[in-house]
Every structure is written in C-alpha cells, then in structure tokens.
C-alpha cells in the first residue's frame, strides 16, 4: 500500500460531519487516514432541529452519522475526547486521553459556544445554555420540578430555546436587550408583529430590557433584576445571547485570529498555516462569521475540494433564512434594512391577520435586494429566487407580497435559470437537478438520493417536487404508475381486472396479476376494491389480513395506540336519550369526547379490548357504526331545514338522513362527505363537500366534487331542480362511477380534475349516459345498498371475530404504557415527559 497521509478533523458537529462526507465522496479516501475528534460523547447530530429532542426525538433520530458508520468507513472517531493542543512544528495534536496524533493536514471545525453575558449571578445552578444534547438534558432535568422559564436573548436561537422550554411545559418569557426581537434580521414593525404573535401564543416578551443581576433564592429559584421594572422570578434560565467562535486551540497554536475572535481563512478555507484549514462557525472570512449551517457546508466543500487539488473557492454565502419560530413564520432575505443608498421599499402590514411583508428593491424597482416576512412565508421561495438569481421583478413589485384573488404571479420552474439554487442547505441548483433527471432519476425520491437536495431542512421540498415533475413532463417521461412493487397496475386497472375476471380474493388477484405477498399499500387498496365490488364483510376470513388497523378494529387508531369511536348520527339528528347513552358510556369508560365537523360525537381513548364492550352498549341503545375508520361515506351534514327554519325550502334533515342511510358502508377509494342545505343560505356548507345538495323552491340542486381539507375545492353545480328520485339516481351513478374509476386515495375533487374532459365528461357519462353504463351502475349500487350490514353488530355476534379484540392474547390486562393526564376537565394522552414523570412518581 502506498504511504497514506493523515487528515485530522477537530470537531464533530454538523459542518465537521458534512466535511467528512463530502471529502469521502470526492476521494477514494484511500490516500488518507481520517481521524475525527469530537468533544461531545455523541456523534454528529442535527442541531438545527434540536428542539425536537424535547418532543420525543432521541439522539439517534437526530444523528447524522454513528460511531459504527465511521468505523465501517475506516475512519478513526475519537468521541468524548478533547484536543489539548496543536503542535504546528511537529504536526501533531495532543488528545485529552494522552494520545498524540500526527497530521499532514488539519481541519478546525470546532464551531462556536454560546455567549453568556457577564451579569452578576450568571453562573447559578439553574442557568443554562442551549447548544448541545447534554445542555438539553440538563435543562430537562431542571424543568422537571419547575413551572416557569426565562430566555435571555430574543434572537433566532433565543426564540428556538423559548420554543424548547414551552414544549417542556414551562410558562416561558423572553428578555431582549434590543428594542425588538431578532434585531439582526427584522425591522421595527416586523419585530412588533412577531412579538404580538408570540405573546398571543402565551410567551411573554420583554424588549428593551437589560438584566442587571441574577439572584439565587433559598429554594434555588432565580430572581432577575432589571435596569428598570419589576424583578422576575423563574425556575430555569437559558442564555441565548449570541455565539462566539471556539478559536482557543488556534490562538494557542499562534494562528491568525480576528480582533473579535474567529480563525482567519482565505478563499480556500486555509488559515495562516497552509496545512491547517478552518470551516464553519469558527472561521472568519472577510471579517465575517457565518452563524448558519449552509455557509458552513459551503466552506466544508471548498476545503474538501482544495485538499484534492481542486479550486472551488468560498466567496461568501447567502444568509437568507426561513423559519418557523414557535409556530410563527419568519423569513429574511438579503439586505432587508435597505441600507444600500437609493433603494425603494414596499410594505404590506395586515394587523388583523398579524402579517407583515416588506421588500426592498433597487432604485429602478427591477432587482430585489432584500425582504422580510412575518406571519406568512408563502412568498419566500419565489422572493429568494428573484434575489439569488437577480431575476427582473414584475412591473409592480408589490404584487409579490400583496394578497390578491389571483395570487402573486407564480415563478414557475421554467422561469428559473439553471444556476438557480433550489436547495441552499446542500447547494443544489436547478441545473444539478435537471442533470440528475437526465442521468436517469425518475422521481423526487431518486433525485433526493442522487443530489441530496431537500435532505437537510426540507424547506425546498415543494419547489423540488414542482421542478422534478415539470422536468419529467417536459422530457415526456412516462411516470411509473405502478401501485407498488407487487402490482404494475393502477387502482383503476386492478378494479377492471377484478370486475372482468370476477376475482374475489387478494390471493387470487396477486397470483394472476402480481408478484410476492403484498404490502401495506396494495393490501388495503385491493381490500377496498373487493369490498366495493362484492360488498362482502371486511372481516370475512379471506380479507382479514388485508385491512389496516382502523378497518380491522372498526375504530380510529390515535397517536398513543388507543382508538376513537364514532357512532353514526345520520344527518346530525339525535334524540336526548341517545345523547345520554353516549355521555354515560364516555363517563363509564373515561373517554375524551369531541363534536366532529360532521355533526357527530367522537369518543377517544379506548383500548383495543374495551371496544366490543363499548360497542355492545351503543348497539343496545340503537346506534350503528359510523365508518369513521373506513374509506367510505362518513357523514351527511345538514342544516335544520324547512321543518323549523323560517327560511327553509325543503326538509334538509330528512333528505340528509335518507342519503346517509342509503350510502352508509359504501367502500370507496377515499372518504366521502355529503351535506344538505335547506335553502340557498347554505348553512350546511354543501358546496365544500363531495356531494352537496341545496334545496330550491322546486326541488334540489346537486353540487359535486367539492373538498375541504388540504387543498379546498368549491363544488361544481351538476344538476338543478331535481326531484327526490332523480337526485338519488344521479348520486347513485356518480358515486359508483367514482368508485370504479378513481385512483387509490383520490378524493372526488382530484378525480374529477384528472378525468379528461373534467366536468363536461362527467355530465356526459352520468346525466346523458354516453357510455351506456347507467343501468349497470344503478344495479351495482342497489346490490350494495341491499347487502348493507352494520359491521359492529356482525362482529359482536361472532365469537371468532371478537377474539381479535384483545390487547394481549395471553393476558386480560391492558397496555400499561397508555397513560392520560387531565386537561380542560377531560383526559388526553400524556406526553413523553409527563409519562416519565408519572412513572417516576408511581
């Protein structure tokens, strides 16, 4: 073997890790022996998402690399080890465990440390910083006995820390010395809007406030004294007043450092010693420290390239950021303070919605120089592209931030130059993505794996998908529509196979038309096809293994593994006696109750073995299953209608009950929601439903393919002044055609948009019967309506089926990991933190 050189990286944070990754990808690494030295006992982890550690994520969830991974790659990782000193003359570093390592090249990636202002009392036991997992562990254990927390520092990191404290259940306050929050990024108005929004979330903010002393009280709590104003007591204090470079090794070694700290580097990342590089927050380039991860990554790439003899200079980096702080959108791009002379600014401030948007342009209004967004980041991606790529702005630049019916002029993937950065974390351009697609990538997942775009913060995910889709489409690429690895067919094609070949089981279908044993994608999809075509019980022996947990146990699994129960309340009409039954059952089983959007009552918190007992009581009182767990008709919402309402034109409640009872149990590609309004005032919001019926003087108007949810769609008027018989026949045919032709998990709105010819085609098929399918659709629906059975009733009558409803097959006990706490007089699942506390106190 040829003589290998030694490369030492001091620091195993995000940037140090990225350097190793990049360097190994560039180089066979066989010419180098790589040593990583990390002071923390943990291997590198994602510090950007640190606050998620308090939301139940562990080090392994946040980890970027593992000791084993390094070992397998032939890298010597010295974790939990400090470097005591660098001997530049001897080319060695001395480790805290006494070992001495030689280097040919050395990379300093020591990062930064949180600055703690020298306020008297700052070193008290309950004062913390927010930087490492060990810091977080210390904060968590202090927070365990406490109720309140204070963060000193209202910058970006301070607000992150405040978010972390609130997620620990502490009532949190933020102290900022400057007159506004995030003084570096925001202007005065933006700071005020952000402050108002954060205070509305329960976090008090004190700006313009100088802390003068931190007093430790007898019980260990802290009392903060300010230059003016009342003192403030707290259980936990976190400093987040900025960062300082960890340049002490460099100073000791006599490397050139900046006046206010930071190791000076040139455009190649080299320090004043040609064999030593510095990257990330410890490095000072052009008198600047870059406190974001993306510029650190750029430096890492520059140094990796330079070690390989390539020239890829670091020439500064964009410091634009987009974040969600305590759930509030904040974005800052470029020079948002308008400090360049002769600039123009445009501002939009909506006090009702607490939104603020500002753009700063060149004097001629053609180029974007900076932007600030608070409360709504929807314009961020487009604005950033204008800024980074110097794209000419529209004639009215303010149209980019003003709300308008037609929305801001979209900056589609076509408008971007190839040099446009799509993912700023991993520095992937549009050109890079297009090259990856030309190289054979055929999906977002493949492009992500190839280019690593959108694999860090994920902020560019939507833009990436647009670009990939548009590029594939432009290439005429047939996107693979296989359901999964077991079937090379779409749901529609499988439906036709089932229908034409009279296939009745999954096993038969996969034997004839698929491969393997099936998976969690195809099994429920085929189960739904079989159910809507043959309407056999979902629990019949051949179908048992196909159902997901909700269909198996006829209830909705919640995040803690318990289930919620929704009895059918057709049309939202319920007798006082039935209300009493629901109330009594909820009380007896200690269930959380909530009124749903579909005018029924959801009961939460039941364990598996309790479901049959609960349902026995509901069935005895005359209830039926509500199919809230199924891809099926959910509810028919209604207003009170002509029976009571002085404006009502028809009996909307009666019609709603009729429709709900007709279509209950119908299995479909996705859930289906209906509503019936008794007059044009539309109190039942029928025009946002899959099927909406609105009474007229002469009968009913039918609206179809509306949708609330993630991408709302207003329903289309489909037929007018129908009588009851024609209304039902039209809905029968439309629903059956949807069940037959829609794709897996496609709601009616997207289904209609996907049909060639859209609404006109649907009108032709359903109302004009152009396919001559009408009678067949009628018969199929009649068969399904006639064979309806309440799945819960059938289950309770079948000993064999009931056997499945056991939490454990070998014990009558419940799951003792399911724990509740009370909130607003009802139960809710205990958080991870609360569970630990409950278990500890038990």
């Amino acid at each position: 073997m040829s003589q290998r050189k030694d490369l030492i990286i001091i620091g195993n944070g995000m940037v140090g890790h990225h350097f190793v990754d990049t360097f190994r990808a560039l180089n066979g690494a066989d010419q180098w022996r790589i040593h990583i030295i990390g002071e923390e006992r943990h291997s590198a982890y994602d510090r950007v998402h640190l606050s998620e550690y308090f939301q139940g994520r562990s080090h392994s969830d946040l980890a970027l690399g593992t000791s084993e991974g390094y070992q397998q790659a032939g890298i010597a990782a010295h974790l939990g080890t400090r470097v005591e000193r660098i001997d530049r003359a001897a080319h060695t570093v001395l480790l805290s465990d006494g070992e001495e390592l030689c280097y040919d090249k050395l990379v300093l990636a020591t990062g930064s440390y949180p600055f703690v202002p020298p306020i008297p009392g700052h070193d008290a036991e309950r004062c913390f910083v927010y930087r490492t997992l060990d810091d977080l562990d210390a904060i968590r254990s202090a927070a365990d006995q406490g109720k309140t927390g204070v963060v000193i520092g209202g910058g970006l990191l301070g607000l992150e820390a405040a978010n972390a404290l609130t997620s620990l259940g502490l009532t949190t306050e933020v102290i900022e010395f400057a007159p506004r929050l995030m003084p570096v990024q925001l202007d005065a108005t933006a700071g005020t809007v952000l402050k108002d929004k954060i205070e509305a979330l329960g976090v008090r903010v004190h700006t313009d406030t100088a802390t003068q002393q931190i007093e430790t009280l007898n019980d260990g709590r802290l009392r903060l004294h300010f230059a003016d104003g009342e003192p403030l007591e707290t259980d936990v204090l976190v400093f987040s007043a900025g960062i300082r470079p960890r340049d002490e090794l460099a100073r000791q070694a006599g490397l050139k450092v900046g006046e206010r700290g930071g190791v000076c580097i040139d455009n190649h990342g080299r320090t004043s010693d040609n064999d030593i590089y510095a990257i990330g927050e410890v490095a000072l380039w052009d008198e600047r420290i870059f406190g974001l991860v993306a510029p650190g990554y750029r430096m890492a790439e520059t140094v990796a390239a330079h070690l390989e003899g390539c020239d890829s200079p670091f020439l500064g980096a964009d410091m634009s950021t987009k974040l969600k702080l305590l759930g509030v959108d904040v974005g800052a791009i470029g020079d948002a303070h308008g400090t360049t002379p002769g600039t123009l600014s445009f501002r939009y401030h909506n006090e009702a919605k607490q939104q603020y948007k500002k753009i700063v342009t060149s004097a001629d209004g053609k180029r974007l120089l900076g932007a600030i967004l608070v409360g709504d980041n929807s314009a961020y991606d487009s604005l950033l592209q204008y800024y980074l790529n110097d794209i000419a702005l529209p004639a009215e630049p303010d149209s980019l931030i003003l709300p308008s019916a037609s929305a801001a002029p979209a900056l589609g993937p076509d408008a971007l130059p190839d040099s446009a950065t799509i993912c700023s974390c991993m520095n992937v351009t549009k050109g890079g993505i297009v090259t990856a697609i030309d190289g054979g990538c055929c999906s977002v997942a493949e492009v992500k794996a190839e280019t690593r775009a959108s694999s860090s913060c994920g902020g560019c995910a939507a833009m990436l998908k647009n670009l990939v889709d548009a590029t594939l489409e432009a290439r005429g690429v047939e996107v693979d529509h296989s359901l999964c690895e077991h079937f090379s067919y779409t749901r529609q094609a499988l439906y036709h196979l089932v229908q034409v070949e009279q296939i009745k089981t999954f096993d038969e279908l996969i034997r004839r038309h698929g491969r393997g044993h099936g998976c969690d994608i195809c099994k429920p999809a085929v189960a739904s096809i079989l159910a809507s075509h043959w309407n056999e019980g979902v629990h019949d022996a051949a179908h048992v293994k196909l159902q997901d947990t909700n269909d198996t146990f006829l209830a909705n699994m919640q995040k803690d593994g318990t289930y919620s129960i929704v009895p059918r309340i057709a049309g939202g009409e319920i007798t006082p006696d039935k209300l009493l039954v629901i109330g009594q059952v909820a009380k007896d089983y200690r269930l959380y109750t909530k009124i749903t959007g579909g005018q029924r009552i959801d009961l939460f918190g039941a364990q598996l073995h309790q479901l049959p007992e609960i349902w026995q009581r509901l069935i005895d009182a005359g209830f039926e299953t509500g199919h809230a767990y199924g891809k099926a008709l959910r509810t028919v919402k209604s207003c009170v209608g002509s029976t009571w309402c002085r404006y009502g034109q028809q009996d909307s409640v009666g019609m709603a009950i009729l429709l709900e009872n007709r279509y209950k149990g119908l299995r479909a590609p996705h859930k289906i929601k209906f509503a019936v309004s008794g007059c044009t005032r539309e109190c039942a919001e029928a025009q946002s439903k899959d099927i909406g019926v609105i009474a007229t003087e002469n009968g009913w108007n039918l609206y179809v393919c509306g949708n609330g949810g993630m991408k709302p769609r207003h329903a289309d008027l489909f037929a007018t002044d129908l009588d009851d018989v024609h209304l039902i026949r039209t809905i029968d045919r439309l629903l059956m055609f949807y069940v037959r032709t829609a794709d897996r998990l496609q709601r009616t709105a997207r289904w209609m948009e996907s049909l060639e010819g859209g609404l006109d085609y649907l009108t032709d098929v359903i109302l004009n019967d152009c396919l001559n399918l009408g009678e067949e659709l009628d018969q199929q629906m009649a068969r399904i309506v006639d064979t309806y059975q309440c799945e819960w009733k059938a289950t309770l009558e079948d000993e064999q089926k009931l056997k499945r409803f056991r939490t454990f097959v070998n014990s009558p006990a419940g799951d003792d990991n399911i724990l509740f706490v009370e909130e607003r007089d009802q139960i809710r699942p205990a958080t991870h933190e609360e569970k630990n506390r409950l278990i500890a106190s038990a």
Partner: protein, 116 residues
C-alpha cells in the same frame, strides 16, 4: 444468529389458535410486549418487539405485514415505517433495529426462546 439450542430456554406464550394468519397479535412476557406474526404457508411465527420507537406506542402487532424486496416486514400503523420480521431492522432508518426473539410452533404451542 449463532446461539446454540442448548443455551436457549423455550417459553410458551399462547396457542396456535390465538394467532391470526398473515397478521399479528400482541403478547406479554412480564414487562415485555411482543408482536407475533403468523405465516401459515411457511408454518412460521416471528416475534418482534411490539414497541414502535417512532410513535413510542405499543402497536406493531397491529401493523400490516407484507414483503418488500423479498423480505417479510411489518408496517407501523402510526407513521408507516417498515421493520423486517427476521431481525427487526427498520428499512427507513438504518440506526433503528428492534429486538427479536427466535419463535416456533411446537405442535399447537407458540413458543419463543430466551437466552439463558
């Protein structure tokens, strides 16, 4: 796994009739919860930890099973990650691996092996 049979103690958990074909049930052994998956065609039972590390809930026995790239997996019913039945490896996160136990059908008894 290279554990010798004589170093294992086989413990009975339940009966074959408690299992559900090509699906899962949960069982308990002291404080441990196990998910048991039954493949009648292969006359096999797999036993893996019932605890889903992503949701922190004991739910894996209630996940759908199937094969991905030729290997049996269970999909968590909460966030849908897949775990290999043979060794508990999570397919979406290389650093996550669940505990598994050797399991067998001894006539109609469902047994798992504990290391002595």
């Amino acid at each position: 796994m290279t554990v010798q049979t004589q170093n294992l103690k086989w413990v009975q958990l339940c009966q074959r009739g408690d299992l559900v074909a090509e699906s899962g049930v949960a069982a308990r052994l002291e404080d441990q919860q196990l998910a048991l998956f039954y493949l009648p065609d292969e006359n096999r039972v797999y036993a893996i930890d019932n605890h889903d590390p992503f949701s922190q809930a004991n739910v894996l026995a209630r996940g759908l099973i199937g094969d991905l790239h030729g290997e049996w997996v269970v999909a968590s019913p909460i966030y849908k990650q897949h775990f290999r039945l043979t060794d508990g490896q999570c397919l979406e996160a290389s650093e996550v691996q669940l505990k598994t136990w050797p399991a067998r059908l001894n006539n109609n008894n469902v047994e798992i092996a504990l290391a002595l």
